[in-house]
């Protein structure tokens, strides 16, 4: 048997680097198309931050200022954070929970797909949609809210917020591994909405009750929003390095939790 099976062994079957790159590309492309065509996703992830911004930033308070910053400028940073968080949490958690719970992930795992490609696609998708939301907010602010920012600042703001998609993508993966396929959106909102409020993404930080302001300091969205506000000169002048470090620590914790779920899945049956 040994010589015969040796002939049946896998010599000569090797995937080239360019083939691997192509898999990552296609996985990301189809993840993007899949979600783009999913109206629930695009509607909630893109329209909610934009609607809030139009209402509170353009219709109601567009002539006001917060400190030295105009409200439309300030709110690009905070609703930008809100949008990034939504795009990332929904972009990772709901798809993962459904794929896991209803068997599709098993089909993918049984195939020769490199497992990391699956997760990378979800993270890339989250970053792309984050970039779309922030860009649209900028366009709205500039065209209708009198927002004037140097080009370099806009690029930095966009870059900061898109990088800020990573901690929330990691959080989404963790949620996706522990939420059921149908309950995932509810579970996401259970985190998403309170975190957004308490971090000062809807009501600016200084107008929050004192207790909530203290809680905010422990919340990841607060730190991302402060980084974004820092770019437009409206932050609370805390150390940017500290914000990044806290977000990094949060990312690692979430990845750790997701990893526990990933390993638990290897030995479990669904359906």
């Amino acid at each position: 048997m040994s010589t015969a099976t040796a002939a049946l062994s896998n010599t000569g079957i090797e995937r080239s680097a360019s083939q691997t790159a192509e898999i990552y590309l296609k996985e990301a492309k189809y993840e993007f198309l899949k979600n783009l065509r999913l109206r629930v996703y695009t509607a909630s992830v893109i329209s909610f931050p934009l609607m809030f911004y139009v209402l509170f930033g353009l219709v109601l308070n567009s002539k006001e200022t917060i400190g030295a910053t105009s409200v439309p400028t300030y709110l690009i940073a905070t609703y930008g954070t809100f949008g990034v968080m939504g795009a990332s949490l929904f972009g990772t958690a709901s798809g993962l929970a459904a794929d896991r719970g209803l068997g599709w992930l098993q089909v993918k795992r049984a195939s020769p797909m490199p497992p990391f490609a699956y997760f990378a696609a979800k993270v890339i998708l989250s970053m792309i949609f984050s970039a779309i939301v922030v860009s649209l907010l900028l366009v709205l602010g500039i065209s209708s809210g009198g927002v004037r920012l140097p080009f370099a600042q806009m690029v930095t703001l966009l870059g900061t917020l898109v990088a800020g998609s990573l901690p929330f993508s990691a959080m989404g993966l963790a949620i996706g591994y522990f939420a059921g396929p149908n309950s995932a959106p509810a579970v996401i909102n259970m985190f998403y909405l309170p975190l957004s409020f308490c971090s000062g993404l809807w009501v600016p930080y200084m107008f929050l009750p004192k207790l909530v302001r203290q809680i905010a300091l422990a919340l990841p969205p607060y730190h991302l929003s402060q980084l974004a506000l820092g770019v437009v000169g409206a932050g609370r002048h805390e150390s940017a390095a500290t914000h990044w470090e806290l977000l990094l620590a949060f990312t690692l914790i979430c990845l750790g939790v997701a990893r526990i779920g990933f390993q638990r899945d290897q030995g479990k049956l669904y359906g």
Partner: protein, 317 residues
């Protein structure tokens, strides 16, 4: 229609008979449920093996073990004499699994394009579409497909990588008679190209139509294994239904009767062979009426099989 590479065709032909997938003394439990107990089973290059059994028998568990999706509690699952989770083994296997939801907003050809990219030597898209009968549905979104069309798309994903070894878990569930026969044709064609196929089914007819070898599995154990003709010989039980004044105990003691139960006004009798039992019945009860004889379903066949083996079937498990 399916083109194989020179490599796999020549190699598989030359080494036909080599074990390419096996379960060696495998047991698998899910919490308190025993899905498989001490199963020994193998698939050789170039053959079609059917794992035949009722729902919950452990068929899917066996496939998932061979795909490396789950790990056995004891024993070993091997594919191409290595670990099923080995990425290189996966490059040579394709799988069709029962799945609750597939991303619905992607088109048929997009799903195939993505899965093809996972393999080093995939089939051309047109060949895959033709093999699965999906030419006209290529631009259809998965969510807009009927049950049978979805099943065919999953089949396409299993074969698109031109794998040497195919796992098909209940491939024809939800297909109408015509679609089922078309899929059978396609599976036969794959085998003619030198592919190895392990399929699970609860249709004796399907196993009979496709397999070189059938392994009958029930309650986590393989209770019979052999060529379709051998299995059929063992499972050709008959079901006799009639209205009679005879008591159940009186019927059960007729030689050849394996089971009897009251069904509304009639009794239903399981027997290995119908003729001697009917002869006795008629002799004992001249007023017997509404006599019907049908081939036993698979469930009854399993009963007959397990009783042949001298084992009592625990129906509660």
């Amino acid at each position: 229609m399916i083109a194989t590479t020179e490599y796999s065709q020549s190699t598989l032909r030359a080494y036909a008979g080599t074990v390419v997938a096996s379960l060696e003394a495998v047991s698998k439990n899910y919490e308190k449920v025993r899905a498989l107990r001490n199963v020994n089973f193998s698939v050789r290059a170039g053959e079609v093996v059917a794992l035949l059994g009722p729902n919950g028998a452990g068929k899917t568990t066996a496939v998932k073990l061979l795909l490396g999706l789950i790990q056995p509690n004891s024993g070993k699952a091997r594919v191409f004499s290595g670990d099923p989770t080995n990425p290189q083994n996966r490059l040579r296997t394709g799988a069709m699994l029962q799945v609750g939801r597939v991303p619905e907003t992607l088109r048929v050809r997009e799903h195939i394009d993505l899965f093809s990219s996972y393999y080093t030597n995939p089939l051309p898209l047109e060949d895959v579409l033709a093999a699965a009968g999906l030419e006209k549905l290529r631009d259809r979104k998965f969510g807009d497909l009927s049950g049978g069309q979805r099943q065919r798309t999953l089949f396409a994903l299993a074969i698109c990588g031109n794998p040497d070894l195919l796992f098909l878990d209940e491939p024809t569930v939800g297909l109408d008679v015509e679609a089922r026969r078309t899929l059978w044709e396609e599976i036969r064609r794959l085998v003619d190209c030198g592919k190895t196929v392990l399929l699970t089914t609860h249709y004796l007819e399907e196993a009979d139509a496709l397999a070189d070898r059938i392994a009958v599995i029930n309650q986590g154990e393989i209770i019979a294994e052999g060529a379709p003709a051998e299995i059929k010989a063992q499972t050709s039980g008959k079901r006799i239904r009639c209205i009679t004044s005879l008591g159940l105990a009186n019927i059960l003691n007729i030689p050849g009767v394996t089971d009897v139960r009251q069904d509304r006004e009639a009794v239903e009798i399981q027997a290995k062979e119908a003729e001697p039992v009917v002869r006795t019945l008629l002799a004992r009860d001249a007023s017997l009426s509404a006599l019907e004889i049908t081939s036993a379903g698979l469930e009854e066949a399993f009963l007959a099989l397990t009783q042949d083996n001298g084992q009592k079937v625990d129906r509660q498990n």
